[in-house]
């Protein structure tokens, strides 16, 4: 069911199994039939840990979404609330409990806090006078959720906003806890590197937590050699750029949530059913995207311009495989052919799906608007005219293009120019306020607070130095057969990944100057291993680094890291962890105030 988690260098299925075990134990604690009341936000992440079948095996008969007033009727013994520890949710729960029909009040209430129980919430329940109604109040420690064989995410949407705008480090505490859990399962990570204030904070907490458990030494042979903690605000540029990998584009255009994408159904109509145009499905087509699907694993990280070729090559292979049947003469040969049939059919339908998706994306990427937008992005990234008002942005505002698109571009210009001249900045801001409404003054304020948008200070623009030293722009990016990570943005090499790459070889000492230009401290810590756990490395054996992006990571960055893992002489494999999988749009959205009033 989750085999793809165990194929990678690090068997992430262990983590999933540990999470499943804990879930089963909790469910069994509430004897008898149960109904789960879900905090809607949790259903997606939970789906990656346990399907409904597991819940069913443990007598979960009904599932509801948490909402006010009365609970729907259900003839069960236990009602279990699965919630994040948030005060507003506590009020809803209290309302639910109060309106429970006392006449046949045989139902037992339980709460499972994800990922951690909270005194504050319990206090709230107490104030509401319902705390005593709960038989079990427990926590389900689900910090890092395995998304794929090399990818963990906390799906903590507001992490960046909380850390940089609100100075609320809750997400970092969860991160540190999650990393402790990870170390409990995969061994102490001997080396910790980091860049950024949040990274420093997380590392400090980890070291403290380790001291707190000083008695019990972890006796597991370390799986990870290095942990690299990176603040998102060290590299604000990358998420703003349009991702150009296949997976990145799917996310940019349709949005991937919890490993699923919803696509317009038209392209996926069953062609066999003939002309019946009225049968066209109206529900969006929902597809799961992960490395369990062979073809997807192959093309997800390619530059989109290389996907077409890959698909047609695959098509040839598949049809050749089907042609084999004509060559099958003997009974044995036919039998062998038939035995491969299910696999081939799956491959064929997978091919059909991705061909359709690629067509959908191609319609967009070949449009003039997409091209113009990309051209401007690339101009900014190469440092062309970043210091004056950009005509394209002006026109887009005049055309009332989506605000988020505008914000992405303006922020990008600001980042690439190390801040905008006050006049330019004010001009953009005025344009935005006049066109999209004055309420966005709060959003603009947030972006300034987060450093995405800022007035240029007296210091000179250091972006060109950073770009040159880290080789962020590669003129001759090879999209078909890449030899450098810059292929993921057709020329731009993500800064965050360059830092990772340099750390592995030749080391950060070579770029001290640039590191000083980027915000926050950089540091190195070592964690003592118990004697006997020092790895004896085989000749040519790769080292493993866990890269943790605090504040989110994009699919293109993941693709770049996978590319580095696969480099023959790289000597390093990467596992990626993050607070949230993001793209420019979702990221900017999370920083907006009153986004509900924003025109689409």
């Amino acid at each position: 069911m989750a085999a793809h988690l165990s194929y990678g260098r690090v068997n992430l299925n262990i983590l999933r199994e540990a999470a499943r075990k804990e879930l089963r134990e909790f469910l069994d604690k509430c004897a008898g039939s149960k109904a789960i009341v879900w905090d809607d936000y949790l259903t997606g992440p939970f789906g990656l840990i346990a399907q409904y079948s597991l819940l069913k095996e443990h007598e979960v008969e009904k599932m509801f979404t948490l909402k006010g007033s009365k609970l729907p009727p259900a003839d069960v013994k236990n009602i279990i609330f699965f919630v994040r520890p948030r005060l507003e949710l506590m009020d809803i729960i209290a309302e639910n409990v109060f309106s429970e029909d006392k006449s046949h009040s045989s139902r037992d209430f339980h709460i499972l806090f994800v990922p951690r129980r909270s005194l504050l919430c319990e206090q709230r329940l107490k104030e509401q006078g319902v705390l005593g109604s709960f038989i079990n109040i427990d926590e389900y420690i689900l910090d890092l959720i395995p998304y794929d064989g090399d990818l963990l995410s906390m799906e903590y949407e507001s992490a960046f906003r909380e850390c940089y705008l609100e100075n609320d480090q809750t997400s970092l505490y969860h991160t540190a806890k999650g990393l402790m859990t990870l170390q409990a399962l995969y061994g102490t990570i001997p080396q910790i590197y980091g860049k950024g204030d949040c990274a420093r904070h997380v590392a400090n907490m980890m070291l403290r937590m380790k001291r707190e458990f000083s008695g019990s030494q972890n006796q597991i042979l370390p799986v990870f050699d290095t942990l690299l903690l990176l603040d998102r605000n060290v590299d604000l540029l990358t998420p703003l750029a349009t991702q150009l990998t296949y997976e990145g584009l799917i996310d940019e255009i349709y949005g991937i949530t919890n490993g699923y994408v919803k696509l317009p159904p038209e392209k996926f109509a069953q062609k066999k059913q003939g002309e019946g145009s009225k049968d066209l499905p109206t529900e969006p087509k929902k597809l799961q995207l992960n490395s369990a699907e062979e073809l997807y694993a192959e093309i997800r990280d390619k530059n989109f311009n290389a996907v077409g070729a890959a698909l047609s090559k695959k098509a040839k292979i598949i049809s050749a495989a089907f042609e084999e049947r004509h060559n099958a003469k003997t009974v044995g040969e036919i039998k062998q052919f038939v035995s491969q049939l299910p696999h081939m059919q799956a491959a064929r339908s997978s091919l059909a799906n991705h061909t359709s998706i690629a067509e959908l994306i191609k319609d967009i990427t070949t449009s003039e608007a997409f091209f113009d937008n990309l051209t401007v992005e690339q101009e900014f990234m190469t440092g062309v005219d970043t210091d004056k008002v950009n005509t394209y942005i002006e026109d887009c505002i005049a055309q009332k293009d989506p605000l988020i698109k505008i914000l992405r571009l303006v922020c990008m210009q600001s980042v690439c120019n190390n801040g905008l001249k006050q006049k330019v900045l004010d001009y953009y801001k005025r344009e935005i306020l006049q066109t999209y409404g004055y309420e966005h003054i709060l959003t603009l304020n947030n972006l300034e607070k987060g450093g995405l948008l800022k007035p240029q200070t007296s210091s000179r623009n250091n972006y060109p130095t950073i770009r040159k030293t880290l080789k962020l722009w590669m003129e001759d990016a090879n999209e078909q057969n890449p030899n450098d990570i810059s292929y993921v943005y057709s020329g731009y090499a993500p800064l965050s990944i360059r830092l990772t790459q340099v750390l592995a070889r030749p080391g950060w000492r070579s770029i001290e100057e640039v590191l000083k230009m980027l915000p926050g401290p950089h540091f190195e810590e070592r964690q003592q291993l118990p004697a006997g756990l020092h790895k004896k490395r085989q000749q040519g054996e790769n080292r493993t680094t866990l890269v943790f992006f605090l504040g989110g990571v994009t699919y293109a960055e993941i693709a770049a890291l996978r590319f580095l893992s696969q480099m023959e002489d790289g000597g390093m494999e990467y596992i990626i962890a993050t607070t949230k999988l993001i793209n420019g749009t979702t990221w900017i959205k999370s920083l907006m105030d009153r986004p509900e009033s924003q025109a689409p």
Binding site: S118, L119, E166, Q169, L172, R208, K429, L433, Q434, R594
Partner: protein, 837 residues
Amino acid sequence: MAFITANWNPLGEAFYRKTELYDMCWNIRDGLGDSLVAAAPYGGPIALLREPHRRSPSSRPHLEIYSASGVTITSFPWKSGPVVQLGWTVSDELLCIQEDGTVLIYDLFGSFKRHFSMGQEVVQSQVLEAKVFHSPYGTGVAIITGSSRYTLATNIDDLKPRRLPEVPGLQGKPSCWVVLTQDRQTKVLLSTGPELFILDNTSCTNVCPPGLSPQAGSIVHMSVSFSYRYLALFTDTGHLWTGFSNLQEKLSVVDTKKMTTPKQMVWCRRPKSQQPSVVLMWDRLLMVVGLCNDPIQFPVEDLCVLVGELDGVRIISSTNQELLQEVPLVCQDIFKIASMAPGALLLEAHREYEKSSQKADEYLREIKEQRMLGEAVRQCVEAAGHEYDSTTQKSLLKAASFGKCFLTDFSPDQFVQTCRELRVLNAVRESGVGLPLTHTQYPHADHMTLQVLIDRLVYRQFYPLAIEICRYLKIPDYQGVSRVLKHWASCKVQQKDLSDEAIARAVCVKVGDSPGVSYSDIAAKAYECGRTELAIKLLDFEARSGEQVPLLLKMKRSQLALSKAVESGDTDLVYTVVSYLKNEMNRGDFFMTLRNQPVALSLYRQFCKLQEQDTLKDLYNQDDDHQELANYYVSASYREKRLDSRLSLLQSAVDEYNKAKNEFAAKATEDEMRLLRFQRKLDDEKGAGLLGLSLQATMEALLALGLHKQAEQLYRDFRVPDKRYWWLKLKSLAEKEEWEELEKFSKSKKSPIGYLAFVDICMKCNNKYEAKKYVSKVTPEQKVKAHLAVSDLEGAAEAAIERRNEAEMGAVLARCSTSDQLLIDRLTRARATAVKK
């Protein structure tokens, strides 16, 4: 050793023996006769409540607590009310049940811990009799009151006293009664003389033990076995009925020929008993009655106390203590005179070997011929476990070790295990420690865990021994040494004669950073004893800052608690402290405290954002954070429905932005207010429905309504860039297909957005005719594009050739179809020359 069987007494097939445990260390001149006595099983402590020598109104009884070996632990005069019964809990606490139904609980050292009552009604009716019993739920108490009613509490740690139903015809107290635990239910079995009743939660049932004839008389004494499985009933005709406690089956009825009621009656069994028995005690006689008709009789000099154990009965007299038990089968096999059991032969062989006699070989040969050497070793090891005397243990173990030498592939586990266990047992049996545990009672998973053994040593404050044992048995620190240290430290902090400093240092030195010892727990204990300063000192050693917080709050060290919470990084904890502080402090102090803790302050702001908007304002005000205050007013303005209030909030925002020197925001907000006023005016005048629209949308709406003048006014007032306004107007006019207006507009001045936009917009509205009007006006660079837009290939080609632009020619070519052969030729030629150049 030859006389090891000397104290064996046959009872049916089996033998019973008395082993001397201790010469009691205590000094009780007048015997145990006048005292209330309670001795706990598993070698537990003994409590005596002794009546004063001379009865006088002023003299009080004396409560004395001894170890099982009679070492005084504590003694003090009893100052509370009259006591009916004493008893021990499973965790070595003393229960003193008073006449008025109050139960006082003391620890081993006689310090009062707490008390509870068996019910209000008892105060009136008084307790006649009481019993302390142990059940799977813990320690329970049963009483019968003067109104002949029973009250039962099955677990004193989770007190739920239940009053049992009335017993028909019962006056005063019954002649005898016991508490039974059966099928997870606790019941009382009682005899009113002629009749026997079972009393449970809901009913009182008359029962009749099977096989006890009515002639046997009425039941005057009863006893239930350690496991609650067996029951013994003694009648006034001297008959002893034994059977199962569910009263379904009889074991035997024996006539003791004793008409007087025994003082005490206790079951004596062991697991896998061959011949279970009941021990009865009269004034000068102890009788062991088995299933057969031939009881053993021992004379006794003075009154003793019988303590039923899992595998025997301890007999405590004023001078010594003995263990009466059935001789285990394996010991019988080995020590029975002329036994030929393999173990017996091995023991003999080893004895001869030590004498350097060749007989050793003969014995060994004999065992080996029967292929019983393994069995022999096992027997010796097992028997060693059952022997109390260490010399006997040694000789048996030596024999086993000797036998082992002649075996290959023999697992040493049992041998090693037994040696280890005996070493521990011998250590705790020492008279100074006084825990006379048998090997059967030793923690083998089911009855008692090793932790309990360690705990019991700890209760007695034998810390070094406990630690020694933990280390010796290799108990993981977490369960072993650390637990002991924790107890030790909790005890240490109570020492009143030592200074805080000294105690903190002593604790730190001993405990160090042993895993699993929580300094906060120790500190909590210190605080409980009223030593706040010590508690704070101890908390400093706590590595987990999160753990320090609750106690610090309790001790009202809220500032410290807050900084510890912040240190821990656990934001939930910070919230907890903050919400606590909020309730404890006045607002000013509260804000000041937060101010010194930026992390806490920002968390509290978050909280306020969601829960208490007004407080948020106060916070910003206090910090003179004008920027945030302004933002606050802005967002508040959007929650406001009425325009006037909205405007006044925005005005406050403007003021704050000005104070924050944020000119841009101040200006923008002023603009917003201006726009809102404008919108309202127009809405009032024309019903335009503009309120809430952005400036751009307002202008759009105005144009759509044909209110060009007003749109123009906004354009000027708000200094809208020409470009954007032109786009706006262009689109609006095209949408309304006002082509004449459009043309006029195009000529009003030079277009800041060029004229290609005009071409495009007309084409978008499918008006090629209008579009063509503007083609000529576009800049040379856009000419080709413009011609192509209106599908004028000729014109496009013309323009491209004129500009000699190869790419543009290509673009035109791409649009040409086969019918335009002439054009294609011309372009191709032109391109060729362009390339040449």
